[in-house]
């Protein structure tokens, strides 16, 4: 019980200085943004970080991270993030919990619109990450928050002794299945391919869990029924046969949608909306760097996000020096 009262985050009172031109504004407070903040602080850059929702981003809801080096017994997402944040604050980067509405570049200066006013900066480190992709069924909107969930850590407790489906076959999906198995009576993983994409060690944990079963080569078609979720209709990708799983909840982990609306039309993106950069994390707009999950990249992990951010911050440092 004692860890229920450790300190996650207390909003610090930080005035935004609208007269200042900051060296860099970091947008997004996940692992990438916080790493950029640590590096920026150590370079003694005047830096601000904006996070719209909760420090930590997607990883904050991860129950256990087992592939981030230095923590041989694994560490929870919220604990890891707390350490990141402490380190960022220690080196002086200011962290604000508010959303950015607009980014504009006029001349050499970026104008970042927030509820506190227009903040000016020489550079931007864009670390907005991604959100879970929506379940592609017509009933998504109707049942979102009423049985369709995108956060197993947040919502698992509502499905105590019930049956739930998890859609997806990657690391997140199997992590979710394991989390849910602590509450639900039965967890059914629905995945469109025969093979799961998740790391082998997670697959093994799920296969040996008596509560978890699999429906492979199936895709979701409909969430039933009228008032609340009572079933998930799925279709076999080969035979096209339909069947209905009787479930009380559907948890979704089928990949990500990048949070890149703010820079749409400004930078180059791939067909799914992830931002293209070169190996220095530079985008088409000079002074605008993209890092982490929002970037077009072959792997989206905490460690790769941190790597991106370290490179970007050091490029920002050079860029600022060159401004003279």
């Amino acid at each position: 019980m004692d860890e229920l009262f450790s300190i996650h985050e207390v909003k610090e009172e930080i005035p935004v200085d609208l007269n200042e031109i900051y060296d860099t504004v970091i947008i997004g407070g996940g692992p990438a943004g916080l790493t950029a903040a640590i590096y920026a602080g150590r370079f003694r850059l005047k830096a601000l970080l904006f996070e719209k929702l909760a420090i930590g981003g997607q990883i904050a809801v991860s129950e256990l991270i087992e592939n981030y080096p230095g923590f041989p017994d694994g560490i929870s997402g919220s604990e890891l993030i707390e350490l990141f944040k402490k380190q960022a604050l220690k080196f002086g980067t200011k962290v604000l919990l508010t959303d950015v509405r607009k980014i504009e570049k006029i001349g050499d200066i970026f104008y970042v619109e927030t509820e506190y006013g227009r903040v000016r900066s020489w550079t931007i480190i864009f670390a907005t990450g991604a959100d879970p992709a929506k379940l592609p069924v017509p009933e998504e909107e109707k049942f979102r928050g009423r049985g369709i969930s995108y956060c197993a850590t947040c919502d698992a407790a509502f499905f105590k002794d019930k049956t739930v489906a998890v859609v997806g076959g990657g690391d997140t999906a199997l992590h979710d299945a394991l989390t849910l198995s602590k509450f639900a009576e039965k967890v059914i993983v629905v995945h469109r391919r025969k093979e799961l994409r998740a790391t082998k060690i997670l697959q093994e944990a799920c296969f040996s869990n008596a509560k978890i079963s699999f429906e492979l080569e199936y895709i979701p078609i409909h969430v039933l029924d009228e008032k609340k979720v009572e079933g998930l209709e799925i279709e076999n990708v080969i035979t096209k046969e339909h069947k209905v799983l009787k479930v009380d909840g559907v948890f979704v982990a089928i990949g990500e949608k990048p949070n890149t609306e703010l820079v749409k039309g400004l930078v180059e993106m791939d067909e799914r909306g992830f931002i293209k950069t070169n190996e220095k994390m530079e985008t088409l707009v000079s002074g605008l760097y993209a890092v982490g999950d929002a970037r077009s990249t072959p792997l989206r992990q905490v460690i790769t996000a941190c790597g991106d951010a370290a490179i970007a911050a050091s490029e920002v440092d050079k860029y600022i020096k060159n401004l003279g």
Partner: protein
């Protein structure tokens, strides 16, 4: 009971309070030990809620504490819906900043931030939002359903509580969904945060930015936000 706060966290909070607190804050907690209102969930969580309130109150001379046990007269005065109810009170409050259920996990930060705001009698909401919040003249009750493991929930709780501090007509209420399953069921809470305004006149899921949150309140009472 063993102490809930780790020593280094307690020290951190003590420093924070010393730096930030101005006016006096009272933590008013209602508990019941018997009777039909006490559920097995309350029984499980109430001792911890009581303990954490006591430990937090110890961390600053500016924090006072009132714990009412089976005091039905006082309960009426505060118009509480059920146990456990925790009110954060100061000069500017109107028994309108409330926690039902244990403020643990991610919500512990909300509690600390609320104490700071209530003590100073002001919030850090942007000025234009403050203005629009203060204009509301009808009674508003905002329920924010949360779980302690939800990192997005404090944003919603804090927004409701900040609105309440800015306007005595608004009551901001956190509800810990695990502790109140029937209450959660009444409003079909299957994902958190879930916000319910005036008993269902308005509702939404997820943590919204302050202006969108405010718009949902205006919508619920049928006023167009301009």
């Amino acid at each position: 009971m063993e102490r809930l706060l780790k020593e280094k966290d307690a020290q951190y909070i003590k420093d924070l309070f010393e730096k930030k607190l101005e006016g006096e804050v009272t933590l008013t907690l209602f508990i019941e030990t018997k009777g039909p209102n006490v559920t097995k969930f309350n029984e499980q969580y109430l001792p911890y809620t009581e303990e954490i309130v006591k430990e937090v109150a110890e961390l600053s001379p500016k924090i006072k504490m009132n714990i009412y046990t089976d005091d039905f007269e006082k309960e009426k005065e505060y118009n509480i819906k059920t146990v456990s109810a925790l009110f954060i009170e100061g000069n500017k409050t109107n028994k309108n900043i409330v926690y039902y259920g244990i403020p643990s996990g991610h919500e512990f930060s909300s509690l600390l931030e609320d104490i700071v705001d209530v003590s100073r009698g002001k919030t850090e909401l942007p000025e234009d939002i403050k203005g629009k919040v203060q204009k509301i003249s009808s009674s508003i009750e905002i329920l924010v359903f949360v779980t302690p493991t939800c990192p997005y929930c404090p944003r919603a709780v804090r927004t409701a509580h900040q609105f309440a501090l800015e306007n005595p007509n608004i009551k901001g209420v956190m509800v810990e969904a695990n502790e109140f399953p029937e209450w959660s069921e009444k409003y079909n809470v299957y994902a958190v945060p879930k916000v319910v305004i005036n008993e269902g006149k308005g509702e939404f899921e997820g943590a919204l930015p302050e202006d969108a949150f405010l718009e949902a309140i205006y919508d619920a009472i049928g006023i167009k936000l301009v």
